[in-house]
């Protein structure tokens, strides 16, 4: 049984010895050319003149392209064709590619782009959310609105009303491997592209359109990425298309990789948000209704901003049953990088809104925030197993109206798998939350300079692409006559361990050891029409597709062998590397050889589509998610009230990965997601200057957590339970949900700040030391 084993990452040995190959490591032919973009120096304006004579004359430069040189589609947008590869007339942000240099070396290309002379007629730029609201600069005609019950009536009847505003910054992905692509021209005008991408099919599609050829003429291969986090869902298009066009033009292999500063200046980041809220609570701290207005800074092009903003709306309940809710979402257009997918895809931003509401309300009501949170949890799922009915909450009296309160989200999906009540109870005990909270209070009373804080926050994250048709996956499995197995599917490997988890599924289906299964690079020529490896869907979708492909072959083998040995196919058992036929026992290799000789097809595709989901994004109604993944984290911090500096002292996490396919890899996702989420809300700060130039464009100025920023005590455990939905081996998606466990750090900081004075901290994110210091000053009144 290979499933559920804590096996190392399939490439771990290659990683540690430097032998794992990334795009820039692929050996290339002599004469390979290297590309770099010349980019806009202004945030908004018309290009009035382009003088590239010095660029063309620079040492090592072979060719220079502008928009006019592009033969077909000049577009790298993943959504609505609003993102030219090279600017045409108007530039929309500092860093927008305008021309493409093709040179003999990476350094020559980078040096040459600096010689471009471009003149602009500048136009007034729009940078901030406030600017964009004032100018009504937005995507879509107006805001999207989801509503549940009547919010005005609900708030009118509230004993306690709270109101506030939360601002949260974006986040740079900081994948350690920057964007990279390599194109090698093939026979007959075809193109082979190696790309560091989460979405090979999209690369294939955009390259084909740019070259004016059908998709079958372009093959895209991705063995691994050096990190993705959503940043390689659409942002690799520009490099791959550039390489393909340059390779087609020159007949030579062409490679492009962004220098880190270029990467940070050119590519999109997490969306920053402003959320205005009004919420009503009864005297017991039960929420009666909440009214959110979410403002999303999307940047200059649409990219994936609409589904990101949708997902923010879809997570504005997090773990809480909202009897009434109104969520209004504005998708604003600004002259900044086009914000893009980033782990959580809007979910974290929406969730932070409701968690702020809970934290704020607890302060107003004088309750422990955890107590208030628990009072508002969704009703738990039944304990009686998969088919047990959920236990609905008792009807409640809302504003004098007798109303049946169900367990539905603001978008009308019943929550039938809620387990956070039990998980929270466990975590409260394992983290010793109650005693520590009391001890902290005592400690704080004795400390003039330092204050501690603690918070326990839950996560409920919806699993499935909200664009329903993306919830499909394909696989291709070969069994060779020597019994070795080659595995391929549409998912991409970015470090999450997808390939290993899926290989564990394949090995289990055939009852063979892991060494028998060869994991191969994602390849659009093997599995077509794939979805991005995103939305945490990798194992759910591809694991199932592989399972189906393996089972197809296994059934064929069983049928053939059963006939040979005169028994029923169901009596043929594949396990421990062998095939048992009653008293007979064959090695898997012998079985494969027999099947080959019996002319059994030993290759199969597998196809899976997620059942039971439907979603109307305009009305905001339906069942967008197949199921929810859950988690909870308890963090303790200490702050310095003189400087705002802080440390995470301890974090305890309990996370729900269903029946984990690989607990070691899943814990890796939980730990890494938590630290990345905590980074987003603490030290990771994006700063643009008044001209729209990103000032934090390298690790010297943009700080992601380092080793010593992890909690000194860090206890991480997986919840022992299976997915109630029929997923692959009843596992759950684990890529994104742990990211939001980082919220516990943010609210622990808020708790520590609250110890400094009577007022509510109103902490914004990122809570840099500076933000914490100002919050301390504020609460002192």
């Amino acid at each position: 049984m290979s499933v559920a084993k804590p096996l190392p990452h399939d490439a771990a040995r290659l990683h540690v010895s430097g032998a794992a190959r990334y795009v820039d490591d692929i050996p290339t032919a002599r004469g390979t050319l290297h590309l770099a973009f010349g980019t806009s120096e202004v945030a908004h304006g018309e290009i009035t003149a382009i003088d590239l004579s010095a660029v063309r004359a620079a040492p090592g430069v072979e060719d220079v392209l502008t928009a006019e040189d592009l033969p077909f589609e000049n577009d790298v947008s993943p959504s609505i064709h609003d993102e030219p590869l090279l600017a045409t007339g108007t530039v929309h942000y500092v860093g927008q590619p305008i021309f493409l240099v093709i040179a003999v070396s990476h350094l020559a290309a980078r040096a040459a782009v600096r010689l471009g002379k471009i003149s602009y007629a500048e136009r007034p730029p729009i940078f901030s959310i406030e600017d964009a609201i004032a100018a009504n600069a937005r995507f879509e005609d107006g805001p999207r609105i989801y509503e549940k019950a009547n919010i005005s009536i609900a708030l009118d009847g509230a004993t306690h009303m709270i109101e506030g505003r939360l601002e949260m910054g974006g986040q740079e992905h900081f994948y350690l491997e920057g964007q990279a692509a390599l194109a090698i021209p093939q026979d007959n005008g075809d193109m082979l592209v190696s790309s560091s991408t989460q979405h090979p099919t999209e690369i294939q599609h955009k390259v084909a359109d740019a070259m004016g050829v059908p998709m079958h003429s372009v093959r895209v291969e991705t063995r691994r990425m050096g990190g993705g986090f959503g940043g390689k869902e659409s942002q690799g298009n520009a490099l791959a298309v550039s390489c393909a066009l340059a390779a087609a033009r020159t007949g030579r292999a062409c490679k492009m990789r962004y220098d880190r500063d270029d990467d940070m200046v050119i590519t999109g980041k997490r969306h920053d948000f402003r959320i205005d809220y009004r919420a009503g609570f009864d005297s017991e701290g039960r929420i009666l209704g909440v009214d959110f207005v979410q403002y999303t800074r999307c940047g200059w092009a649409q990219d994936l901003s609409l589904p990101v903003a949708d997902r923010a709306m879809l997570h504005s309940d997090n773990a809480y049953l909202l009897p009434a809710a109104r969520i209004e979402s504005h998708r604003l257009r600004t002259n900044t990088q086009s914000a893009t997918a980033f782990r959580g895809f809007g979910g974290p931003q929406g969730m932070l809104g409701i968690e702020r509401v809970m934290d704020h309300a607890a302060h107003v009501l004088g309750l422990d925030p955890l107590e208030l949170r628990r009072r508002n949890y969704y009703a738990p799922a039944g304990r009686g197993g998969l088919s047990a009915p959920r236990a609905p909450r008792a009807p409640e009296d809302v504003s004098g109206q007798k109303k049946q309160v169900n367990n539905a989200t603001p978008y009308g999906m019943e929550v039938t798998d809620f387990i956070l009540d039990e998980m929270t109870e466990h975590l409260v005990e394992s983290s010793d939350y109650t005693a520590r909270r009391a001890a902290i209070s005592e400690w704080n009373a004795a400390q003039p300079v330092l204050k501690k804080g603690i918070a326990l926050t839950p996560v409920k994250f919806g699993i499935s692409f909200t664009l329903t048709h993306l919830n499909q996956a394909g696989a291709l499995v070969h069994v060779y006559q020597d019994g070795s197995i080659a595995l391929n599917h549409g998912g991409t490997e970015m470090g999450q361990g997808l390939f290993q988890k899926v290989a564990q599924v394949a090995a289990d289906r055939f009852g063979v050891g892991m060494e028998v299964v060869k994991i191969t690079a994602t390849d659009t020529a093997k599995v077509p029409n794939t979805s991005a490896t995103a939305a945490s869907s990798g194992s759910d979708l591809n694991g199932m597709a592989v399972q189906i492909a393996c089972d197809t072959i296994r059934e064929r083998m069983a049928e053939h062998l059963a006939a040979l040995y005169q028994m029923a196919p169901s009596e043929v058992v594949f396990s421990d590397g062998s095939v048992s036929l009653g008293t007979e026992r064959l090695t898997f290799a012998q079985a494969a050889k027999l099947c080959y000789q019996g002319r059994v097809p030993l290759s199969a595709t597998g196809f899976y589509k997620t059942p039971d989901i439907e979603w109307d994004r305009l009305r905001g109604k339906g069942r967008p998610f197949f199921y929810f993944a859950y988690g909870a984290a308890c963090s303790e911090v200490v702050i310095d009230t003189l400087t705002g500096e802080y440390r995470i002292l301890r974090t305890d996490i309990l996370h729900d990965a269903g029946r984990s396919l690989n607990p070691a890899l899943d814990i890796g996702q939980v730990e890494g997601g938590f630290v990345q989420g905590a980074g987003w809300l603490t030290m990771e700060e994006l700063v643009w200057d008044g001209r729209g130039r990103l000032r934090t464009h390298a690790p010297s100025t943009y700080k992601i957590p380092a080793a010593s920023d992890t909690p000194e005590v860090f206890n991480v455990a997986l919840w022992d339970g299976e997915n109630r939905s029929e997923t692959v081996y009843r596992s759950k998606a684990v890529g994104e949900p742990p990211f939001m466990l980082g919220m516990s750090v943010f609210f622990a900081l808020s708790d520590a700040v609250a110890a400094c004075g009577p007022d509510y901290p109103m902490l914004d994110a990122p809570a840099t030391p500076e933000a914490v210091l100002w919050a301390v000053e504020r609460v002192r009144g």
Binding site: V16, S17, L450, G495, G672, I704, F714, T768
Partner: protein, 461 residues
């Protein structure tokens, strides 16, 4: 010019290459050794970390801002050279596999080299040892576990010190692009006087970025690393003398002994890879307003020693910094050493940044305040990040000196900081934050002397 060194156990000669060719580019492009990765190209992520050994031992360095001539006569081990010749993984590599320390794997070679270097040196302060290696996937817990697990394993035979003799710098065959590579301060004095427009390169942690990021042509360059007589740390009963070529890493234990707070600041200065390359002379001579050692040295009353050919002069360090980007240094003149008195002056250094490790300070405050019988006998205070240069807080000092050590005095002195400084706003902090925290650092000094817990790093869970 061409450079000879040992790479993964074999002698190599680079062939004639520009002197500002980085080791990383050469490894990846000329040698096909693609295990070392380019993550940032500025020495901040550690994905390119290599082990370099010479007569001073083994250290981890960032190959992306290491120029080939700096390697002359040294021994370089890349990630490809960590495993034994028969393919057995190094203990830290095996521990990384066993403890799931890699996810995407791109940062992993750098971690492996940093960890192997620490393992070789018997260093077990793991979080500090890998502070210069960024990982975006794992959250580090697994990596720290791996480092701990490998502590007790023996050093693999192929990496154990072989008692090699490492040559002094100097005699290299030049080419058209030959840099100047003096092997003594006398030779440097002559060369620099002759070529006063040359760029001096010591550790290249700053100049490296001129090349990799600004792509600035440097013209003639003079490498300082072979001037061993600039690398001495000498102590008499009363005085500490630091040669300009002393690295921050070598200064760390000395300062930790003499002024623990200075040592703690150095612990957080850059990262291992940066401290092993960066020199005290470079940190002073480049005149940055946000270098961390100048404020600490100014508070200690350090004296700077400059040399031009055979003419030497000394001045109080603070007088060296004339204005933003402008220092009191004549063409052809170079920093030879810096000296401080070891008398029992107290020192508190407060480095404030968004991240504790490997982050440039928003504000760095250094306080040498002596209190006798409840009176402030003397006060020397200097700040980085508060002005266009590292600068003394003269007005503030005057509000302290001779006054009683009371809250009232601190309040008055804190107010006076606004007369000493007009800080600016940037991505590291607003002007208001800089001023407020500079003032609060005086309060931290107060609380520290009162015995109150006043630093979050000292709080244990």
């Amino acid at each position: 010019m061409t450079t000879n060194f040992v790479l993964n156990g074999r002698s190599v000669e680079t062939g004639d290459l520009p002197p500002t060719t980085t080791l990383l580019d050469w490894l990846r492009e000329e040698r096909g050794l693609t295990g070392s990765k380019e993550g940032c190209n500025e020495g901040d992520c550690g994905a390119c970390t290599v082990m370099v050994r010479d007569h001073r031992g083994a250290r981890a360095l960032n190959a992306c801002i290491l120029f080939l001539p700096q390697l002359y006569g040294k021994e370089v081990t890349t990630v490809e050279g960590l495993s034994s010749p028969d393919g057995e993984l190094h203990p830290v590599q095996q521990a990384l596999v066993d403890h799931h320390g890699s996810q995407c794997g791109f940062c992993t070679p750098g971690f492996a080299v940093s960890m192997a270097t620490a393992h070789l040196n018997g260093q077990t302060d793991h979080a500090d040892r890998i502070a210069g290696n960024l990982c975006r996937c794992t959250g580090y817990a697994a990596i720290l576990k791996a480092a701990k697990a490998a502590e007790a394993a023996p050093i693999p035979a192929h990496l154990s010190s072989s008692g090699k003799k490492y040559p002094r710098g100097g005699a290299q065959r030049g080419g058209q692009t030959a840099p100047l590579l003096p092997d003594s301060s006398d030779a440097l004095a002559d060369l620099y006087a002759q070529w006063p427009d040359a760029t001096l390169i010591a550790g290249a942690t700053d100049v490296g970025l001129w090349v990799t990021k600004q792509m600035r042509p440097l013209g003639k360059v003079i490498f300082l690393h072979a001037c061993r007589d600039l690398q001495d740390i000498t102590e008499t009963e009363n005085e500490l003398t630091m040669g300009a070529g002393v690295t921050l890493a070598r200064l760390h234990p000395v300062m930790t002994r003499l002024w623990p707070s200075f040592g703690e600041m150095i612990r957080r200065y850059g990262s291992v890879q940066v401290r092993e390359a960066a020199t005290i002379g470079g940190n002073i001579a480049n005149g940055s307003p946000i270098g961390d050692s100048p404020p600490a040295l100014i508070a200690l009353g350090a004296t700077l020693h400059l040399r031009h050919r055979d003419t030497r002069r000394s001045l109080p360090l603070e007088q060296f910094f004339l204005d933003y980007g402008k220092q009191d240094r004549a063409p052809g003149e170079f920093v030879e050493k810096v000296t401080v008195l070891k008398t029992n002056q107290p020192l508190s250094v407060y480095k404030l940044s968004k991240r504790f490790d490997q982050d440039i300070s928003a504000v760095c405050g250094a306080f040498s305040v002596e209190i006798q019988n409840g009176q402030i006998a003397s006060a020397r205070i200097a700040f980085g990040g508060m002005a266009g240069t590292p600068k003394r807080a003269s007005t503030t000092e005057s509000k302290l000196t001779g006054q009683p050590w009371t809250k009232e005095t601190i309040t008055r002195a804190a107010a006076a900081l606004a007369e000493d400084y007009t800080p600016m706003s940037d991505m590291r902090g607003s002007a208001g934050y800089r001023m407020k925290t500079a003032q609060n650092m005086l309060w931290r000094l107060w609380h520290e002397r009162q015995g109150h817990a006043s630093h979050v790093l000292e709080v244990r869970p």
